[in-house]
């Protein structure tokens, strides 16, 4: 597609439910990032992939958070047994490299509300 696509845009979950958030990056972009953004805060790094390899998952808040990108394109962020503190916007971005620099292209995000 023309840009990074995320779904669903909005998700309401009851505490304890599992959720899955999908990211469809720009075709051909090797690197993919997930961020969590709480209201009024900057995006917080969660994890990133290079192709299908998850190279850094140091930002995942707990073992309830799991991300995968099995074929090196679409990625899914899964949150198990959701808690109220998981309520946030989850942003996905893919990276276009240009020599020694690059540009992150973001999706519109998935807003998760845990009741």
């Amino acid at each position: 597609g023309a840009g990074v696509s995320q779904s669903p845009r909005y998700k309401v979950a009851k505490r304890g439910q599992d959720v899955a958030l999908r990211c469809d990056p720009i075709s051909g972009h090797v690197s993919l990032f997930w961020y969590q953004q709480a209201l009024g805060q900057g995006p917080e790094f969660l994890t990133y992939f290079q192709n299908e390899a998850q190279l850094d998952k140091s930002g995942l808040p707990s073992d309830r958070f799991f991300a995968e990108r099995p074929e090196g394109s679409v990625s899914t962020l899964k949150i198990q047994r959701t808690q109220q503190e998981d309520s946030a916007v989850y942003l996905c971005a893919s990276l276009q490299r240009r020599g020694g620099t690059g540009e992150l292209f973001f999706g519109e995000g998935s807003r998760l509300t845990v009741l």
Binding site: V4, F33, Y35, Q41, G42, P43, E44, F45, Y48, Q50, L55, D56, S58, G59, L91, A93, L95, R97, R98, G99, G100, T101, G102, E103, L104, F105, F106, G107, E108, G109
Partner: protein, 112 residues
């Protein structure tokens, strides 16, 4: 990773030039400086990127002094639509396998 410091918020008026300064005292040799803009309910959007001196595009200018310990994003003749949060990022994650970190950003409000 170089830590960045920028003002929490700024106010200005339509038609004015706005300069937002970011401090990054621990910037490394390979680090680039990048600015992103974020509107409510949208993901951040790339504005400008530079390594040293001055970079200009159709949206903004980026001034980087010789010591590279700070940088200034300059928005000429702002309009109401420039009201947004602006993030300064410093790192070399663009070419190497490393994470890209955002700070808290500067909330810019433009008034009529």
């Amino acid at each position: 990773l170089a830590k960045t410091t920028q003002p929490i918020s700024m106010d200005s008026y339509e038609g004015q030039e706005v300069n937002i300064t970011c401090s990054h005292n621990n910037i490394a040799t390979n680090d680039y400086i990048t600015w992103y803009q974020q509107f409510p309910s949208q993901g951040p959007r790339f504005i400008i990127q530079g390594y040293k001196t001055k970079v200009t595009n159709e949206v903004a200018s980026l001034f980087i002094p010789a010591d590279r310990k700070s940088s200034t994003l300059s928005l000429p003749r702002v309009s109401l639509s420039d009201t947004a949060v602006y993030y300064c990022l410093v790192g070399d994650g663009w070419s190497s396998a490393s994470k890209i970190i955002f700070g808290s950003g500067t909330r810019l409000s433009i008034r009529p």
